[in-house]
């Protein structure tokens, strides 16, 4: 059990800044997910916590010990690698017990621990097998077992699910989360898959270009992205974004851009005027309202595609020179035909605004109709 803290941590390779002054505080027992596109510095960050990479600047603390210059083996962390890194010439028993044997744990104790872990992870019949004789999922469980057997202060996982097929990935996702809750070990989990991040993390740190863009609980991240990158990165399909300007010439304040006009929520007008003319408006696909007639709350568009996924339908609408995606119940989508002209609107309170250049979210007083953001809420995906 431990906390971990990163203070202005920077990693610089010759001619390349991989991690740029990040600050991160990981609470005891927390499941923190580092998520971002490839090359964003998330794995480097994890490897610095593990001690596999040197920190160029800044400090890393595990518990109340500064570990910058502590070797990996003395940090009391365990790591699960993307390709599992099982010792190929050792059988499952030897793989699981390797760290214990190095620490000269008595033989009986090793056997007890290995049997416990093997029972937990359903590996008991496989203890004599070599890694080549195991399936992908089994190898993955051995890698997990090797990490948990040590009861480390910190669990580090580097994309542990990306080598599994889709079905097994979803299943293992649940298993890892359940295991982590049960053991209560502070965990840092790296993934490029935002849906993995949203389903597993108790908190998520979104990274891009070596920086942390936002740290939040999944629901907050989804509802109130701190900038346009997070808005587009989190959620499938991503948040609809459109470059607009504020048009106050008519009787109603409108957002216009790309041949589209959207009514602007009154509470946002002041904040938007302060930003200036260039900003982007965004809304989640499920916040789009599609109706046969123009209700005045939106604009007309042409249906470009209807994708029925069974539990939901995604309707792509082209308006002006922009495209939006709406998420609808399948029953509603049934009546919508390809090429049809439909009215497309968004509930004003669900609109989000981002600075056109920096991408930072524009804060404005939310309407009371907006539901309050709850911590540890369920993920809307």
């Amino acid at each position: 059990m431990a906390t971990a803290r990163l203070e202005n941590v920077t990693k610089r390779y010759p001619g390349h800044l991989a991690v740029d002054r990040i600050n991160l505080s990981i609470e005891d027992g927390e499941f923190l997910v580092l998520v971002g596109p490839s090359g964003c510095g998330k794995s480097t960050t994890l490897r610095m916590i593990a001690g596999l990479e040197h920190v160029t600047e800044g400090n890393i603390w595990v518990g109340d010990r500064r570990v910058n210059d502590v070797s990996p083996r003395d940090r009391d962390v365990a790591m699960v690698f993307q390709n599992y890194a099982l010792y190929p010439h050792m059988n499952v028993f030897m793989n699981l017990s390797y760290s214990l044997r190095l620490r000269r744990v008595p033989r009986e104790r090793i056997e007890t621990l290995v049997n416990q872990v093997a029972a937990t992870l359903d590996l008991s019949p496989l203890l004599n097998r070599k890694p080549v004789q195991l399936s992908g999922g089994q190898r993955q469980r051995v890698a997990l077992g090797r990490a948990i057997i040590r009861e480390p202060k910190l669990f580090l996982m580097d994309e542990p699910l990306s080598n599994l097929d889709a079905k097994l990935r979803v299943q293992t996702r649940t298993e890892i989360t359940r295991l982590q809750r049960r053991l209560g070990v502070t965990t840092v989990y790296v993934t490029h898959d935002q849906s993995e991040a949203m389903t597993m993390g108790s908190r998520i740190a979104v990274m891009n270009d070596g920086k942390i863009l936002q740290i939040a609980v999944p629901r907050d991240l989804y509802r109130n992205p701190a900038n346009s990158f997070v808005a587009e990165f989190v959620g499938t399909p991503p948040m609809n974004l459109l470059s607009v300007r504020l048009d106050r010439s008519g009787s109603v304040d409108r957002l216009t851009g790309g041949g589209v006009r959207i009514p602007c929520p009154e509470s946002a007008v002041e904040a938007l005027e302060a930003v200036g003319q260039g900003f982007r408006v965004g809304f989640r696909p499920e916040d789009a309202v599609i109706s046969g007639s123009n209700t005045g709350a939106g604009f007309f568009g042409q249906v470009v595609a209807v994708e029925d996924l069974g539990h939901e339908a995604l309707v792509t609408v082209s308006a002006g020179n922009a495209q939006f995606i709406a998420r609808l119940p399948p029953a509603r989508a049934e009546q919508i035909r390809h090429g049809q002209r439909i009215a497309f609107g968004v509930e004003p309170s669900k609109l989000r605004f981002f600075d056109g250049r920096k991408g930072a979210a524009v804060a404005f007083p939310l309407d009371e109709s907006l539901e309050p953001v709850r911590r540890h809420g369920s993920c809307p995906l």
Binding site: A50, G51, L52, S71, P72, R73, R75, V77, A78, M79, F81, N83, A85, Y87, P88, H89, Y98, S99, L102, R103, R146, R150
Partner: protein, 281 residues
């Protein structure tokens, strides 16, 4: 395609081998010529009761064993160094591999010169050491001659071992080293638990090839000591050569050839069986 290959193998390998065995069963003096007895086991009786033969067998074993051990140890060390990233690695790689590219004759001449007891650089260097007062007469002292030849052979063959082992080391995933580092292994344990097991197959091939090659190595001994002094470096191949071409006893020479072949086959088989056993653990 199989036909021509089989014909080639038969003509180039199997037929000469059988012919050689046939000669070993005659009292031929020139190779395959001038024999009176068409079939006799006398050659085998003679060579097996001749202490010179057993000396040659012993020299062969020491020479081969020394070469393999020396080359593999030096090869692993060189491979570990070359695997690291350091400035000038390209040049060092070339230098390490260089002995392999030097022709045997040139190598023999250079080493002979270095071993020269009076003006060789080796003894000159040894005398610079404060505790050394007498230097060996490398190639003319029966105590040192075999060691001297082994050193030359190790020098010539270790680049091969280094090259193959380096390739082997580079196939070992970095993740394994990292995982074991996190699990608590220091550099020595990582070498024993990750590097060595990862090199097992390559190592097997290296040991086998070096063993076979040094069993048949003739050049250095012939060029530097001619089997002497007092038979100290008289390995089987050299012994066979002298039997055939100096003493014109082709029959018994070929019998020794058969003995050498049998030794090679036995050693190789033992080795392969050992490896199979390890794999099935």
């Amino acid at each position: 395609m199989l036909g021509p290959v089989l014909v080639c193998i038969f003509v180039l390998v199997i037929a000469p081998l059988l012919w050689g065995l046939r000669i070993s069963l005659t009292d031929s003096r020139m190779i395959g010529l001038g024999y009176r007895k068409g079939f006799t086991l006398e050659n085998f009786q003679t060579i097996l009761s001749d202490p010179d033969t057993w000396n040659a067998v012993w020299v062969t074993i020491v020479f081969s064993g020394g070469t393999v051990i020396g080359s593999v140890l030096l090869g692993i060390a060189a491979a570990l160094v070359l695997d690291r990233d350091f400035p000038g690695r390209g040049i060092v790689r070339v230098l390490v591999i260089l002995p392999w590219a030097v022709p045997h004759v040139v190598a023999a001449l250079v080493w002979q010169w270095m071993y020269n007891p009076d003006f060789g650089i080796l003894n000159y260097g040894l005398l610079l050491l404060p505790w050394v007062s007498a230097t060996p007469k490398w190639l003319s002292d029966p105590q040192f001659a075999l060691l001297a030849i082994i050193i030359v052979n190790v020098w010539k063959t270790y680049p091969f071992a280094a090259l193959l082992l380096l390739a082997g080391i580079q196939t070992i995933s970095d993740d394994l080293y990292e995982a074991s580092a996190i699990d608590g292994a220091g550099p020595a344990r990582r070498f024993l638990d990750i590097t060595l097991p990862g090199l097992k197959r390559v190592l097997a091939i290296v040991v086998l090839l070096l063993l076979i090659w040094s069993f048949g190595n003739f050049v250095f001994i012939f060029l530097m000591t001619q089997g002497g002094p007092a038979g100290a470096t008289n390995a089987l191949v050299v012994h066979i050569y002298f039997e055939t071409f100096r003493f014109f006893r082709a029959g018994s020479a070929f019998a020794m050839g058969a003995l050498l072949l049998a030794m090679s086959i036995v050693l190789t088989s033992i080795y392969i069986i050992m490896l199979r056993g390890q794999d099935n653990d």
